[in-house]
């Protein structure tokens, strides 16, 4: 069967190379709905590069990146694909994707901190294409019912006090914490840990820095919040928290800029994530990238297309349509009247430079499992020795590296 495969494949390949290179086809896997802006941008690229045809496929969320990775695993990679930047290391270590080169102008166009999310081993592995950071949303009605002034707590002490006051005075949970087996359980933990000066993996040396004071303090924070957090935190992910906040069932929670639109009807305030005792307010900075696959036969063209899609008006259209913080400095590219000129965007723009990427590890799913296990252990009361739990998690992370 293998021989048959190879023969069949060889025939196809020979057939392909024997033909004069009249037209080259690039397969591009994009996530989400059909977007006319993307089609237009691709059409412009095809017009500028005669002889190249782009086969643009929009795949539904939750299937798109998985599909691209499975195609690569089966030896049939797409030309380029939209993928969570967290998977770049796994793909690059597996020799499935190509490092990218940015011109000084392209490099300068990105907001500070963005490119750090695609860096590993001194190279960049994808064109950042969408990005988000986080902030703390508070429900003013509940704060006032609890006799508090409505403002976003500045530090953990204030946050715990506010959450406790809300729980005691109103009987409603003071804060919503995500604890389900989902990516956003780890993300939220890192939001707090980054606001406490913590690090998972040193980006330069690759050393595991997790087993330290900031992580222990963050886990202790979770333990302290258990009595005042929304019931059943181990079954909650961001969609549930959004619903709870909208329904007035939690006093505060951490989410992205989309929260402003989702909670437009509510009396809320939004501010930086409260800082911990050992650090200053920060946020996780999550990006999705366009990765260029190795072995598609059209690597150079795919690289050009990726650069085209992540530049100028094309990138701007995506950011504004999805309501994300701007990934590039669009004013410097001559785009005026930007969507994020409105005052409420200021917080998220200011947070961008303080943002830090998801840890770059070989196997992200395993990393997530380690964090989820630790966090759920604390929430369910199965972990009592915080220090030992952090040490154990650090060992787990080491095993993944």
């Amino acid at each position: 069967m293998t021989t048959f495969n190879r023969l069949a494949l060889a025939t196809v390949l020979m057939g392909a190379t024997a033909l004069p290179a009249l037209s080259q086809e690039i397969q591009y896997i994009m996530c989400g709905d059909e977007r006319q802006a993307e089609r237009d941008s691709v059409a412009a690229f095809e017009a500028a590069n005669p002889g190249i045809k782009v086969n643009l496929e929009f795949l539904p969320w939750g299937t798109c990146s998985e599909k691209a990775m499975q195609m690569a695993a089966a030896g049939d990679p797409p030309g380029l694909a939209y993928i969570g930047s967290r998977f770049l290391k796994q793909l690059s270590k597996a020799d499935q994707i190509l490092p990218i080169e940015l011109t000084p102008e392209q490099e300068a166009a990105y907001q500070p901190g963005i490119l750090s999310t695609v860096e590993d081993g001194g190279k960049r592995w994808g064109f950042p294409h969408a990005f988000s950071n986080k902030a703390m949303f508070v429900n003013c009605d509940l704060f006032e019912q609890a006799g508090l002034e409505c403002k976003v707590p500045a530090d953990w002490t204030e946050m715990k006090a506010a959450a406790t006051a809300i729980k005691e005075k109103t009987g409603i949970a003071g804060i919503g914490i995500a604890g389900k087996d989902f990516d956003n359980t780890m993300h939220m933990f890192l939001d707090f840990m980054y606001s406490n000066g913590g690090t998972v993996v040193d980006t330069v040396t690759g050393e595991i820095k997790f087993d330290d004071v900031p992580a222990r303090e963050t886990l202790q924070l979770y333990a302290d919040l258990v009595p005042v957090m929304a019931e059943g935190a181990t079954a909650l992910e961001r969609g549930n928290l959004q619903a709870l906040f909208e329904d007035g069932k939690i006093g505060m929670y951490v989410t992205g800029p989309w929260g402003m639109g989702q909670h437009a009807a509510k009396n809320f305030k939004v501010g930086p994530i409260p800082r911990g005792p050992s650090g200053t307010s920060g946020s996780i900075l999550i990006t999705d990238s366009i990765a260029v696959f190795k072995g598609s036969g059209v690597e150079a063209e795919a690289m050009k297309l990726a650069a085209h899609l992540t530049s100028g008006a094309s990138q701007y259209a995506l950011d504004s349509e999805w309501g994300l913080p701007p990934i590039q400095k669009y004013e410097e590219q001559g785009i005026t009247d930007v969507y994020y000129a409105k005052p409420e965007w200021k917080l998220f723009l200011d947070t961008t430079p303080t943002g830090r990427p998801e840890p770059m590890v070989y196997n992200f799913a395993s990393l997530q499992a380690v964090f989820t296990n630790m966090i759920q252990g604390v929430i369910l009361g199965e972990i009592t020795d915080i220090n030992a739990a952090v040490t154990e998690a650090a060992e787990g992370i080491k095993a993944i590296q």
């Binding site: 499975q70 597996a94 604890g179 079954a235 799913a365």
Partner: protein, 309 residues
């Protein structure tokens, strides 16, 4: 002379008939075998081969039995195997019990019977993922009906999130799996019950046997082959049931709902460790094969006992 000729001709004819039977049988099965061989057998063999490699996104190398050794060296895998069988046992039992109750009720000749029979079908027809979303919301602590009703009538003080705790999440997944499988089981039981000869019931009725006695002594033994057959099919499907747990809990909290298939999926698809995943898949098949053999052996005895061929 004629007698002698007949004497030799008969076995000859039988032999030729048997031979043509054989050839004919294989000709009839050939398309099915061909289909399975092309579509399933090759990926299967490939999976077995991969289980002896460290295949991942990065390529593959032969590693011998390393994947299997790694599996059984940690204590966790044993725990997952036990959990999987517990899950299978309770889920299948629940399906059979509900199926029997449902079928008995739908046997009752009352107005509306035809409508009721259709109303049990939807869980079978709806894409599993969508049905599971319905349950996901039902099990929600703050917004779900179950928790809401429990609070309203005072069973619980506050909201209870069914999927947040190991035990409740495990049982919630069992209920959901049983829900998905119940319509088919009910329908097949219903049909089997209708196939039971009325003479048997009438004879028992004349003898003054009550409904419960007739159910226990006539219905159950008569449909036993179907019960046993459905149990085996359900057991295999439940063992490999993936979407339900994945949508409800993704195997959490803290691994409380991680069955073998969830574990396999996490390793093979989410972590892209195809070699280690393949080893898990092979073990699932071995376990199910052993289980089925044991089961079929029991089945043979049951059938003999009830006088079924």
């Amino acid at each position: 002379m004629t007698l002698a000729a007949q004497g030799t001709a008969a076995p000859e004819r039988m032999r030729r008939k048997a031979l043509s039977d054989r050839a004919f049988a294989w000709a009839l099965i050939a398309p099915a075998i061909l289909f399975i061989a092309v579509i399933v057998a090759w990926p299967l063999i490939e999976t077995i081969r991969l289980s002896f490699t460290n295949a991942s996104l990065a390529g593959e190398e032969y590693v011998g039995l390393a994947n299997y050794q790694k599996l059984f060296s940690g204590g966790k895998f044993g725990e997952i195997i036990v959990r999987t069988f517990v899950w299978m046992f309770f889920s299948v039992s629940l399906k059979l019990i509900l199926g029997l109750i449902g079928a008995s009720l739908l046997m009752a000749v009352v107005p509306g019977q035809a409508l009721f029979r259709i109303l049990i079908m939807p869980p079978w027809v709806i894409p599993i993922a969508m049905g599971c979303l319905g349950w996901l919301w039902l099990f929600n602590g703050d917004f779900g009906i179950i928790s809401g009703v429990a609070q309203a009538i005072g069973i619980t003080d506050g909201p209870f999130a069914f999927l947040a705790y190991r035990n409740s999440a495990f049982w919630s997944a069992i209920v959901t799996d049983a829900w998905v499988g119940t319509p088919m089981v009910t329908l097949f039981f219903l049909a089997a019950m209708q196939g039971v000869s009325r003479d048997l019931y009438e004879a028992a009725w004349v003898d003054g046997a009550g409904r419960w006695y007739r159910f226990r002594r006539i219905t159950i033994p008569q449909i036993m082959p179907v019960i046993v057959s459905m149990a085996l099919m359900s057991a295999i499907w439940t063992f490999n049931s993936f979407e339900i747990i994945w949508i409800l809990t993704q195997g959490g909290p803290r691994g409380g709902t991680t069955t073998m298939i969830i574990d396999t999926y996490k390793v093979a698809i989410a972590n892209l460790q195809f070699g280690e995943g393949a080893a898990r898949a092979v073990i699932i098949v071995i376990m199910l094969a052993l289980f089925s053999l044991l089961y079929l052996w029991v089945l043979g005895r049951v059938n003999r006992k009830y006088g079924v061929k």
